[in-house]
């Protein structure tokens, strides 16, 4: 919590927060990091296998194999989410399943499943990007800013 908010608390509240945080079970950060590293790495290994498969058996280059690889990974995620097992992996893996493209797929698909009972247009359509929308917005915007910086540096920085 920020210091600004802390100032608005009464001494009794501050004392209890201190008291409570001593009893709170903390997230096992180191353990979570190791699990995330291993599971995330494993997902990337699967992705690498799929990419190599496309390059070896089909007419793809290293650059063009990216799109079908992502599509296959998202398709697998869709099945795992639909069968209700992805969230169980995620409770174990944390960032390991959230950071790769499978996490993004899961965010879209889980929201779509969840709001199916509210209809296709206002339910699925309106809520599908409820979680992923901000990823797209800030992802595209930060890509734009980085590109701007790169362009400026190349044009005037003489890189």
């Amino acid at each position: 919590m920020s210091n600004n908010q802390k100032k608005n608390l009464t001494p009794v509240q501050q004392e209890y927060q201190q008291f409570q945080s001593e009893r709170e079970v903390k997230r096992p950060i180191l353990k979570n990091c190791i699990k995330a590293f291993l599971v995330g790495g494993f997902i990337c290994l699967i992705g690498q296998c799929i990419q190599t498969f496309f390059m070896y058996y089909f007419d793809f280059t290293e650059q063009t194999a990216g799109n079908p690889t992502v599509a296959v990974l998202i398709f697998i995620t869709m099945f795992l989410t639909g069968f209700g097992v992805y969230d169980r992996f995620a409770q174990f893996a944390g960032a390991g399943t959230a950071v790769p493209v499978t996490g993004f797929g899961n965010a879209v698909i889980s929201a779509a499943i969840e709001h199916r009972t509210e209809g296709f247009v206002l339910g699925v359509g309106g809520n599908m990007f409820k979680l992923a929308g901000s990823v797209i917005l800030f992802g595209v915007f930060s890509a734009f800013v980085i590109t701007l910086i790169k362009t400026i540096l190349i044009q005037w920085g003489g890189l």
Partner: protein
């Protein structure tokens, strides 16, 4: 005074409890009247399934008492969904005069306290009261989509799928409601919606201590003081607060519904929560134990975190409340 004493012995003549598939694998599975193996309950949305839970529990309660639902004069209930629609929709089926309640997870005892008060003062002879929650419907509203892979911290709790209902009458056989203490809203400035036990503990402690003071009794008067859904962290905090305030409550005597419902190996992290949690445990498991004579007197303190997804996003703190109701074996009170 926040404590009501009921001299005219309002009686819990019967109860009805319904649980979902995850509850069926839990520790107190044999205490439910009905268990479902499917989270959908054969409905096409979780919200409809939520409504069915409460309807079925109400039906069991009236059946067990041997009365028709037309004999029920008032229906006092609530849940966690926006505008408490599952409860209002089931009130349509039940057909009695209806007052919708919202006290988050404290609704079960809010309802029992009010029902006992009305019956005690002759406002009605037969009141149905209860609360319910449905894991998927509640999680959808308060957290992420159910299938979304977010890692929950060890302080978070599992929302119970279940409904617990009791039938309170002015006469009959069964456990007697002897008093109730209505809680005050207590806000300790906590903001983490994944740690509600820690936020609710001070409210439970305040209500229990007020109850003891206003009734002028010692905690040892009760065989069991049971909180609604504090979970591991909330219970620890409450016990240490009692120690700090020199309230003589023994660790063994102070239990939590959220820790009774599931087995140790079920992945519920800090424990169970939800409006149905205290309702199914008290109206099922604990009243059965009272009927067997294992518990003579108990104080049920249902705890509620009065937050909404909106207030959390706007960085508001979590206000909490706890209502206490004392239930005694009928032979203890004449």
């Amino acid at each position: 005074m926040r404590t009501w004493i009921f001299d005219n012995n309002p009686v819990i003549v019967s109860t009805g409890t319904v649980g979902g598939p995850f509850e069926a694998k839990g520790k107190i599975a044999e205490d439910y009247d009905l268990l479902h193996e499917d989270l959908w309950l054969k409905e096409d949305s979780y919200e409809k399934a939520h409504k069915v839970l409460l309807e079925e529990a109400s039906l069991r309660a009236t059946e067990k008492a041997g009365i028709t639902k037309e004999k029920v004069e008032y229906f006092l209930a609530g849940d966690l969904i926006n505008q408490i629609t599952p409860t209002s929709f089931s009130a349509k089926t039940i057909g009695a005069a209806y007052l919708g309640l919202f006290g988050a997870c404290s609704t079960s005892m809010e309802g029992l306290a009010l029902a006992s008060f009305i019956v005690n003062h002759g406002g009605a002879n037969c009141i149905l009261t209860g609360s319910s929650s449905h894991n998927a419907a509640v999680e959808k509203q308060f957290r992420y989509p159910t299938e979304y892979g977010a890692q929950k911290p060890p302080t978070s709790q599992w929302t119970v799928t279940g409904a617990g209902v009791s039938l309170v009458m002015n006469k009959g056989e069964g456990p007697v409601v002897t008093s109730a203490t209505i809680g005050k809203v207590i806000d300790m400035g906590l903001t983490d919606p994944f740690n509600m036990g820690g936020a609710m503990a001070p409210a439970a402690v305040d209500t229990i201590e007020t109850h003891m003071k206003e009734r002028n009794i010692d905690p040892s008067y009760y065989d069991l003081i049971v909180t609604g859904d504090l979970g591991h962290i909330g219970r620890e905090c409450a016990l240490d607060l009692f120690k700090k305030h020199h309230t003589p409550i023994k660790e063994k005597q102070f239990q939590d519904c959220g820790l009774m419902i599931y087995r140790e190996d079920q992945p519920v992290l800090a424990g169970a929560s939800g409006a149905g949690c205290s309702a199914v445990v008290v109206y099922g498991h604990l009243l059965n134990r009272m009927k067997k004579g294992e518990i003579k007197r108990m104080l049920v303190v249902a705890t509620g975190a009065l937050l909404s997804p909106l207030t959390i996003q706007q960085n508001e703190t979590i206000p909490c409340i706890a209502h206490a109701v004392s239930i005694e074996h009928q032979n203890m009170k004449k």
